[in-house]
Symmetry: C2
Subunit: 504 residues, 2 copies
């Protein structure tokens, strides 16, 4: 215990140590919790488990606000225990997804840079308990976060009560990589002074009003590793297409070999695309993103990436072992910020990011669906893709042209849900090629997308739809009664593919 | 002529005076023009007319980039002459609309704050001729704009050649109200230093490289007046609903009587809604918008608005007479900026604007269509609505609940085109009431929208659609094969209204 207490350097907080069960007992039915955690990294673990235990004998519901998705099975346990009323701004867990799609809990699918504004201005439920993971608490009462910052700083600032989980399993060398900045209220704030990826603008920890620290819990549990899969043949081809696009931008004088700060969304495809840069000619790259996945560390190791800014680090099990055990060599190349800053439109536009995110499907005019399977069933959420795409220098979306052994075309006549409109999508990439949509009118975009992105199996029926749409005219020709016919076919026949003989 | 030459204070430019016909003769087939003009204000007039004349005997096409819509019949004349290859970023003219929807010209429907980035970074065709209207040219060669700034400063900076139209019919007292600021390139720029609506951050005119000034044309023609219609009973009710929403925000402690800087889109409905504030208790208001319409000057006259920032002033004929003849009393209450700054996400989010824009239709989940009639035919364009809605403190969309004598419901099951996604729409207002969608999950939004915004005639069939959708489940329940059935009914039967007996 003595040794543990060394992590609480603020003497007046040392008597607030409680068990997770004691802390969980303070949480009442109807309360709103602000939990640390961003894509499986830096989530609180012990108090959520204790809360789930309580649900075995008690009936209650709480609102759960986080940075993004939680690891450590927490979203699954929460969903299975049925204790969540409202969840925001992001999740990525199959059991929770099921509960959301069954209408058993409310899910507010929210831009990750915006939740802080809602909390600060009192638009959503006030936070009763901020529960955040820490490496330690400094003498002056600053919370040093662990492997993510997420929304923790805004939760701590605005919560009525604060519970800190000090996790001794997290890498102590992370102390010093965080940079906590509070924008202040809208209408009263100064410009965010950030003008380069490696610039520090804040404090190394989260300032805390110590009176509101209700309890401190000690834990010892590693983050859940990421579940990305390794690059495959198709994602490697997609990476090549993207690199060729960058080369054409350099040839046109719009980029140089150092490109521009890169943002890459979570997931296997985006990771694979970044990974594709290792053997490229590009160099002295910078990353300004939310989550750093394996590929960024591979790029640092390869001497390709000079600096990376993030709000979370989520790695596979072997990569986590390597990076965390040898973190000294990465420390001066990484800054971790609140998600409001890592995703802030002001900074995204100023720095001129190259933003690479995964699409679930996109349509022939370039509208992108990031969230809903066949327009209705939530997958994960929009995450930061809108924060970045809307303001980036280059908004790039990547996806394989088909899914489920070719039964689903990821390029459709009309996206069944739209998260990124035609106005905000610059380049789309599949394993077939890339379409640069910038400056093109809708009818020009269709040609570029059919020729370069649609799988050859689906090109004839896409052409047929478009030819019929053209007979109706318009800036954006459509046959509304057939706009979702591919999705209908999938539901009825198990495939979007119309038999060739049906196409005349 | 001597008197006219006084307007060209830079002596070395005085010998560049030419006729509009001489200037128009320089323009070659395939060139790209950057014209001043934003919602009928401050457009160049003589050279475009002369260009249209040339089309009587010559065959050519040009790309026409502007601030926003042109007045002075120019978009009509251009469209009828068939001389436009590509038009961006906005238009609002029936003949041009027809040509666009017939596929006779390309229209790139672009966020108004983004075109400057495309020009600066060379994404779209380089500007061969910037042709901009001016009050005068200063001794050091700055162009003093007239009733709009729009994209003129970025056109002038990046064009190969510059033609200036000095228009003696424009109000000379406008000199001094402009504030020209250039952000510089992405990745190399500083924060935009603007932290208050009335702050000046730039120069009073557009700095010019005099070597590139190819010609100066003298003109004398007033702007086209705006064609907004006066508030009617329904828009007055909508204004009341909106004011009641503001009152509830004050009660919740999220706003004060001075509200927050207001942005209001172009058009009769938005104008009427602003107009509704004249007899309200709100005071010391500020406006940070693109276009100032009549209502803003009425609000200044009524002592309600203290300051207004804009990139254009577009008034009705009587209001233009009054304001321009008596401009001294408004001069210290107005700043006119480039549209990149008036609409910049960085500034919009920092100041925390209340953004009020008109929807063409929206769906039961809050996705907004601002541009396409029945998903296919372009109306005007997205304009600045996306610049503002995406980053505002409050993104509000207003529309009457029905159109065409009730044959069209403006609220539909699935928006036939989506310009603003569910993630970016906070409040929707019709004459039926308002729905505050913030923090609501999709199923909660449906309830709020049906109860508060849908016309009673359409509520039963909306309920029926939603009930069927619920049987399919999902985060965002839909019946995809019926998602556009209302639009199909309109096309077939001339009305979206299903007969009551058809609803079981």
């Amino acid at each position: 215990m003595e040794k543990k207490l060394e992590r609480i350097k603020a003497a007046e907080l040392q008597d607030r140590v409680v068990t997770a069960q004691e802390a969980a007992a303070w949480i009442q039915d109807g309360m709103t919790l602000g939990l640390s955690g961003f894509t499986r990294a830096g989530d609180v673990k012990a108090v959520p488990y204790a809360l789930v235990e309580r649900a075995e004998t008690e009936s209650f519901k709480v609102n759960v606000f986080t940075g993004a998705s939680l690891g450590s099975d927490i979203d699954r346990l929460f969903a299975e225990a049925g204790i969540v009323n409202k969840r925001l701004p992001f999740q990525a867990e199959p059991a929770m997804r099921k509960a959301i799609n069954a209408g058993e809990m409310y899910f507010v699918d929210h831009h990750l840079s915006h939740t802080a504004e809602w909390i600060r201005s009192g638009v959503i439920e006030p936070i009763d308990f901020a529960i955040v993971e820490a490496l330690s608490i400094t003498e002056d009462g600053m919370i040093i976060p662990t492997t993510s910052v997420g929304n923790s700083s805004v939760f701590v600032k605005h919560a009525k009560n604060i519970i800190v989980e000090i996790n001794a399993a997290q890498p102590e060398l992370f102390e010093g990589i965080h940079d906590i900045y509070d924008t202040g209220k809208q209408g009263e704030r100064d410009p965010i002074p950030l003008t380069s990826v490696d610039q520090r603008i804040g404090t190394k920890g989260i300032p805390v009003d110590m009176d509101r620290v209700r309890g401190i819990v000690f834990t010892h549990q590693e983050d859940s590793p990421s579940n990305i899969v390794a690059p495959d043949a198709e994602t490697k081809i997609m990476a090549d297409h993207l690199l060729n696009f960058f080369r054409s931008e350099i040839e046109a004088g719009r980029l140089t070999e150092t490109l521009a700060p890169l943002q890459s969304g979570i997931g296997s495809v985006a990771n694979a695309v970044l990974h594709g840069m290792i053997d490229s000619e590009f160099k002295n790259l910078e990353v300004y993103s939310e989550v750093l996945q394996d590929a960024v560390f591979d790029l640092i190791d390869a001497g390709k990436v000079d600096f990376a800014s993030c709000c979370s680090i989520t790695l596979s099990e072997p990569k986590m072992k390597q990076v965390f055990s040898d973190f000294d060599q990465y420390r001066d190349k990484i800054i971790m910020r609140p998600q409001e800053i890592s995703n802030h439109p002001e900074v995204v536009r100023r720095l001129g990011l190259i933003s690479i995110n995964t699409a679930l499907e996109f349509d022939m005019y370039g509208n992108v669906n990031s969230t809903h399977v066949s327009g209705t069933k939530m997958m994960n959420g929009i995450g930061g893709s809108g924060d970045f795409a809307r303001n980036a220098r280059l908004a790039i979306f990547v996806t394989k042209s088909t899914a489920k052994d070719g039964k689903i075309s990821s390029v459709v006549p009309f996206a069944s849900h739209i998260d990124h409109t035609e106005h905000d999508v610059d380049v789309v990439v599949t394993e077939q090629g890339y379409a640069d949509l910038r400056g093109l009118a809708p009818r020009q975009r269709v040609e570029a997308i059919i020729e370069n992105c649609v799988h050859p199996d689906y090109r004839p029926q896409m052409r047929e739809y478009y030819e019929e749409a053209l007979t109706r005219g318009g800036q954006t020709p459509h046959v509304l009664e057939k706009a979702f016919s591919w999705h209908e076919s999938l539901a009825k026949n198990g495939t979007m593919l119309v038999k060739k003989e049906q196409l005349v």
